[in-house]
Symmetry: C2
Subunit: 661 residues, 2 copies
């Protein structure tokens, strides 16, 4: 049931739309046939650069079929501030009128149409206006007129100016997929209670200010890590898989209307140093959203090039490349099919003056005054649990050089982050720095239903935060540095009791195994904090002393593929479901002593999926008090940007001159 009528006011259009919750959408931000990108209800930082795209849709068939599939190429668009006279887009932004682009795309109106293989086809006429900015705070009304009488309106809000830099540095930790529920579970595993009182706490527990941010996409209530990272870094929500752009309907994944990111702004305005650290492959969404502009997060090679060289196909803000860039994913660096244009990106970085480290020893020895690249293995970094406890799992072919061997001299998130701070502090100098540090496998292991591996990496993030605060103190920059710890989305994980593994394993009947679970008073206390000869690891105060006690947490989530549940640690990484004829069923090799739980997700799902929940924001340092309460993920950007004085009323480019090569 898609709307047949376009209406004048977008808010009215929205209230009449019944097309808004379907499985598939023609274009999520465009319930009418006339599309304005950025769409209605978007916010902007004063001076933030962005592109504009208009599309007029002419569905050829399906419930919306219109005008015999001929889109109106004579559409017009205007912009007006606070009720002042509307001007054409070209006039307002002093641009040459662009030419009309045309393309065709198709989509399914619902699952029945998909099953029947009956797509709806849409012809499009479009124009894009590139690299504009709004400097004056207030409300702008953009009006698209098309089909001789139809109108789509978008109201844009330019937020207040904040030109003064209150924090010299910002360190933004992202626990990918990390929720309050997981933080609570991680605390239980690593920290001991005596009669209900924790004897030690997480580093996160000591943050003075707490907020919640809403993670939903612009056009779906469940987000992925691409558009949620973009929201955090740009103040603009987008569509699943999109980075630094509003997704349009064109076939080209690199022509979507862009928005300037926090590190682009910071480079342009203040010339600060910036860096990204991740336990994922560095071309993954959370790190590349800092510099990436594409609708398709899977364009890994291009995204690494964009991080180094900026957007190539349009005039756009260059950051000069990251000052520190540490993670995994050698596939995009080794010359070959995974790298951009088949080039050797170790060499591309080196040519731009980077030291290149392929192991921890080299990383720690790298000079702090030079730009630094560190890529430590293929794929993602092995998780904390495998690096420290189940080290047999490191025996995989993942050397970052491409050699046929295992990467063993691996840094963790803490080593990478502390080194990045050294480099950024040195290179940023009086201009300060911005660092994003991501605990990526919290998410990746939750997808695998591998709770222990996820929680191990959450504890690694927490340990890194603790070490970071100590580091900032030792560098005497703690009071100048805003430290934020948050997430990009959740997974519906929670702990609901304990399980007696001895009893569980002694039962042969699958139903009887469930009786090993103790709930309420029978949950008992955490045994992960009890030292035990032979299974206690020298992993310090902030990690479990025993990952494999008799009584383990019983935990789970509501969004599952078919799988077996055995509770307790899996000594090898999990693969809960296996494919058979294109559908996923229980993987009989995974947790073979467990009981079968049939899934709740579509049968093509091999893994768990992201969830809706608001995620926590922990803040300390300058501007910390602005992070209390509940807000959207885009507000995290505006809060950081205001603390960094990035809301400028004029086109500031002084920073670019100071960016060092």
């Amino acid at each position: 049931m898609l709307p047949k009528l376009d209406v004048v006011a977008a808010c009215l259009a929205a209230s009449l739309s019944v097309a808004s919750a379907q499985t598939f959408r023609r274009l999520g931000t465009c319930p009418t046939l006339g599309c304005v990108l950025p769409p209605d209800q978007q916010d902007f930082l004063p001076g933030q650069e962005f592109d504009i795209r208009f599309e007029v849709h002419a569905p050829k068939n399906g419930s919306e079929a219109f005008n015999n599939g001929v889109p109106d190429e004579a559409f017009t668009a205007t912009i007006a501030k606070d009720g002042r006279r509307a001007k054409s887009i070209a006039e307002f932004f002093k641009l040459k009128e662009p030419s009309v682009e045309k393309w065709t795309f198709s989509w399914f109106e619902d699952l029945f149409a998909k099953d029947a293989k009956t797509p709806s086809v849409v012809n499009v006429a479009s124009k894009a206006y590139r690299r504009v900015a709004l400097y004056e705070p207030g409300t702008y009304t953009v009006t698209l007129k098309y089909y001789s009488g139809k109108t789509t309106t978008a109201e844009w809000t330019v937020r207040p100016l904040a030109t003064k830099k209150k924090a010299k540095n910002v360190i933004f930790f992202i626990g990918d997929g990390m929720t309050t529920n997981m933080i609570t579970a991680a605390r239980l595993l690593a920290h001991k209670t005596v009669n209900g009182k924790y004897q030690t706490l997480l580093s996160l527990d000591e943050f003075p200010v707490l907020g919640h941010q809403m993670t939903h996409s612009i056009d779906s209530f469940i987000t992925d890590s691409a558009n949620s990272a973009s929201a955090l870094y740009t103040g603009h929500k987008s569509t699943v898989n999109a980075l630094g752009v509003y997704a349009d309907s064109s076939p080209d994944p690199f022509d979507d209307p862009k928005v300037e990111t926090i590190v682009e702004l910071l480079s342009r305005i203040w010339g600060s140093a910036w860096g990204a650290v991740s336990t994922a492959f560095i071309a993954d969404a959370t790190p590349t959203a800092l510099t990436g502009h594409t609708r398709a997060r899977s364009q890994y090679g291009v995204l690494v090039d964009q991080a180094l060289n900026g957007v190539a196909n349009y005039s756009w803000t260059k950051t000069g490349g990251p000052d520190a860039y540490f993670g995994a994913g050698a596939e995009q660096f080794i010359a070959g099919s995974g790298s951009f244009e088949g080039k050797d990106y170790y060499n591309e970085f080196a040519k731009k003056g980077y030291t290149v480290s392929l192991n921890k020893t080299s990383l720690l020895a790298a000079p702090n005054n030079k730009k630094a690249l560190g890529i430590f293995c293929k794929n993602n970094l092995p998780v904390w649990l495998d690096r420290h406890i189940y080290t047999d799992n490191l025996e995989i072919i993942n050397d970052p050089s491409g050699a046929n061997k295992s990467a063993k001299d691996l840094p963790g998130l803490k080593e990478m982050t502390l080194k990045a701070i050294d480099v950024l502090h040195k290179r940023g100098g009086k201009d300060g720095f911005f660092l994003m540090s991501e605990g990526a496998s919290i998410d990746k292991q939750m997808h695998n239903l591998d709770y222990d591996r996820a929680l191990g990496d959450l504890l690694e993030l927490d340990d890194t935060v603790r070490a970071t605060i100590a580091k900032l103190k030792s560098l005497d920059i703690l009071d100048d540095t805003l430290v934020i710890v948050s997430a990009d989305h959740g997974h519906g994980f929670d702990v609901f009791g304990s399980s007696d593994t001895k009893y569980f394993n002694a039962q042969t009947d699958e139903r009887a195994k469930r009786d090993a679970v103790g709930v309420y008073e029978n949950s008992g206390l955490s045994q992960y904090t009890e030292p035990k000869p032979g299974v206690s690891y020298g992993t310090g105060a902030n990690f479990p002393l025993n990952w494999d006690p008799r009584y383990v947490i019983a935990a789970g989530l509501g969004a599952n593929p078919d799988h077996r549940e055995a509770y307790g640690v899996s000594k090898t990484p999990r693969t809960p479901a296996a494919a058979k004829n294109g559908e996923y069923y229980v993987n009989d090799k995974d947790r073979p002593n467990g009981f079968v739980v049939n899934g709740t997700l579509p049968t093509d799902a091999a893994q768990g999926v992201h969830s809706l929940t608001d995620v926590p924001v922990f803040a300390r340092g300058p501007c910390q008090d602005t992070f209390g309460g509940t807000y959207s993920n885009i507000d995290v950007f505006y809060k950081i940007a205001n603390c960094l004085g990035l809301a400028q009323g004029r086109n500031v480019t002084e920073g670019l001159k100071r960016r060092r090569d």
Copy 2:
């Protein structure tokens, strides 16, 4: 593996204990054979009254068997402040030495012992010291000596004084079982987004300060609503099922060592008015924890008597009874088997000067200057969804008079809360008031996996909070009133996508039904906010306009009994599992068009269970800034108590004189 050795320092004892996480415990707060209650690591408000109990255990058999099962009756106990000279308990508190009590109890060492029906039996010698208080902030060391050389030590901390009242009134909303995940889902159902921006928000979203509280019990990491409510109201964690006491091992559920509650303190010190409102039966844990002192929350009749008359078997602070007491659960008021001593508690309350209302009309008409009781039905109040949308479900025999008819003239949480504020404001006068208002069925419906009913009641709570703030403003007491909204524990609920009910219902294969679920970009937007003729209800801006759209939320939790999942609203209240030979299986009458999900809980579980997650605390008003960050549930009590000036360095009883009858 239970410990064979008792050790000197309790902290050392704790670190050596390997008995701490088992399914069953001899006594959760006592890993050694000598027990101090309150145990090690407990905090106290200066001047807060409490009892002390010592127990010496002599296990007759089992892994801990000791001294042929003969407990040491000659044990001694001392207390010393900050390293000063230790005095005997009797000397320190100027009490007569109590006589020794003796009893026997038994427990199972693990699930194998339970299956084998081989309990361990323990003989106990004990002494209790009743109604003491510590007035001087600092650290106290309590030492129990027994068995000629064994020692158990408890360190108690008396928190700082805070004698000044900063808030005149406190309103404490408890969403029972309410988590951040549920709040996020409720927002999605009731509030509309346009291109990712919410057009309206929850009342909770507008609170300036947010915190997280840890809900775990004193001796298990999953709590129930009794001991978590006690922690919130007394600053003392306890054991599952316990209210206002530390659970001891004696057979009598009414002789456990008590702690004074917030309303007892407030009555004694300031003589403020107080009230409780709940959508549960009023004898349920969350309301009765305000005044109840028993290890057994199921003592419903006694608990109602304790609310009215205070503790009967010991000298203890009397509150004079609640000024407003509104909820359900007529079973404890109608003369008969459900009421204390078979008495008519409507009459017992009336004799003490209460107006008694059995329906909404009567409630609203009750005078504000008199104490008010309102009991509106048997069992729990029907949920918001059934009261407003699926009203056929009100056709049950639940009249509060005991008559064989349906209670139809029902108030909701909002009407009860606003009326309670009128009564408390009037009766509290210059002494102010404390009100606890509970959205109880958020929890009760999550137990049933009935997400829509739970979220409806969460939205009712939010609507009540909004109306309360408006009410306080209209009474000109908003700035004098600390408003807190929190929860007592969670359930592991989250939303992970949408489901196309039309597609779901068109599939006959259970696996194919799962393909109706849309995740990520296919989750779409909420259709609950779209008006639709015939299914849009006049339920105002803060509730869904359509509870039964084509595209519904796909949600769930990890802790389940066997059940069917159909996504979307159940038009009748759910009963997911049904008993067969003492085990629970899928209830074939519940969601018959759904697909089967086998459970993850013990097979004797008919319902979902509580979860571990920290829960949010929203605060506004005087002292709001003290509620930021992460802390234990007991800290909520200390923060409120300090804001109310209840931390007193002397025995203050002035309030009692001002309590009106």
